[in-house]
Amino acid sequence: MELKSADVLKVRELEFPLDRFYYRGKKSHLWVKMRDGITEVGMDAFLVHSTGYLNYISINTGEVKQGKGVGNFESAKFVSRIFSPINGKIIEVNQKALDNPRQINASPYTTWLFKIEPSNPQELEGDDFISSSIELKEWIEADLIELDGE
């Protein structure tokens, strides 16, 4: 795994800290960071950029399965699903972010959404996770090109 540096990858105006992993399963754009055996999950800059101002967020608690819905967020009359990046149990939800979702617009990488106690941390090595800065750059650029084409 290469993504352990304190550097930040910049793709156009979007920033992606390299101290965490990025989940792209189910066309998600979530960041995932391991801290003392617990996984913090948040939204990455591409998701925030393509979504716009967040109005509401809800997150369920309890057991979660990778790729299954764990919550929703609404922006401009569109409700989008949040999918769990890994199997495990949601042990904490960031109530401050849920009460004021625009905190995520302002600061996506310091505002985690929920914490999962993973049942198998090795899952972070799966194909749904970006495991190198080169791959991360290619992924973001491809999605930005798709966005431009719209």
């Binding site: 189910k26 066309k27 393509s50 979504t51 716009g52 101002y53 109005n55 509401y56 809800s58 819905g69 929703n72 609404e74 922006s75 401009a76 009359k77 569109f78 409700v79 989008s80 699903r81 625009r102 999605d143 798709e146 966005l147 719209e150």
Partner: protein, 331 residues
């Protein structure tokens, strides 16, 4: 495989909602065109149930549903033609950006209005408007592997019962909501257009098929019925209906894009106002029993996103400035 067409005509109110949820669950890319037999109210996924006067709804026997997609609380009745588009998220036609999703898939609806001589256009995020009036409200969301658009063409519109069914902090707010809704929302009949329902359905289908390709006309089969049945238990669960929404510490009602009414009351402070396009159009602030007219007039001069609003409130009502600022800003 192309899109399926479910041209369902009149349906019972429950099925009008369950059908598109079920089609999305089953990943059946489709267009649904239908009407409801009974009047009902539909909450968006995040609308607080406290927006509704349940005593009134019970007295009038008006049911309520909470959909899994976005948009505000709406009144639904027979004088509306519903359209629901279900498209897989990985379909190349399905954009990443929600804004593009609305502009792309509302175009057939805009074209339908235009075919009746109405100069309709999309007002972002998802209203369709003409002559400054909202003529169609829409919402969308992700259900399983699909994105769903839901909206209606209003043949006629009378907000009286809807406004009665909503819960308001006071009668003045109710009256303002009625006046704004009457002046800012319009139906085909408002423009003197009386058309056969079949004609509206046909034109919608024609315009959607130009975007989606040939639509295969199909019936609701056993598998779909079964999924609707299984969703029924979940969607009519009291907890889903009453507790899924998010309560705010203020009351806000969206009349149309760029027309929101809001009301905030806490301790000795009351704020009532109307927010337009990044600007307050009306505001009344009562603090310690007195109008704070100087503050009101300063706020009316400012753009909401100017960054000055919070400072202005702070200089008059410092202990509640953050709360009032959020009410004014909305969201």
């Amino acid at each position: 495989m192309g899109f399926k067409l479910f041209n369902l005509g009149l349906q019972n109110w429950k099925d009008t909602q369950l059908i598109y949820h079920a089609l999305a669950e089953l990943s059946i890319e489709s267009l649904v065109i239908q009407q409801t037999r009974e009047n009902y109210i539909c909450l968006g996924m995040f609308n607080s149930a406290k927006e509704l006067d349940f005593d009134y709804l019970k007295r009038k026997n008006i049911p309520v549903f909470r959909r899994e997609i976005g948009g505000g609380t709406v009144w639904l009745d027979r004088a509306q033609i519903f359209y629901h588009l279900i498209i897989r998220r990985d379909n190349p036609l399905c954009p990443i950006k929600n804004e593009t999703f609305f502009t792309r898939f509302l175009q057939p609806v805009v074209d339908t209005y235009k075919s009746f001589g109405i100069d309709a256009s999309i007002k972002p995020a998802c209203d369709i408007v003409t002559e400054g009036k909202k003529i169609s409200g829409n919402g969308a969301g992700t259900i399983e592997d699909c994105k769903v658009l839901s909206g209606s063409i209003l043949l006629e519109f009378n907000p009286e019962t809807f406004i009665e069914a909503l819960s308001f902090p006071d009668e003045r707010f109710r009256k303002a909501a009625f006046e704004q809704m009457t002046s800012r929302v319009a139906s085909l009949s408002h423009f003197g257009i009386w058309v056969e329902e079949q004609e509206v359905r046909d034109r919608l289908i024609q315009n959607f098929s130009e975007l989606l390709g040939d639509l295969e006309r199909v019936e609701v089969d056993t598998r779909i019925r079964k999924t609707m049945k299984s969703l029924e238990a979940e969607k009519f669960d009291e907890e889903w209906l009453l507790e899924t929404g998010k309560d705010r510490y203020w009351r806000e009602i969206k009349i149309a894009e760029e027309c929101y009414l809001f009301h905030f009351l806490r301790d000795d402070t009351q704020v009532f106002g109307r927010r337009g396009d990044n600007k307050l159009e009306e505001i009344e602030i009562i603090h310690h029993g007195n109008r704070v007219e100087k503050l009101e007039s300063l706020l009316l001069k400012e753009q909401i996103n100017s960054g000055k609003i919070l400072n202005i409130i702070e200089s008059y009502i410092p202990h509640k400035s953050e709360e009032i600022f959020r009410v004014i800003k909305g969201g």
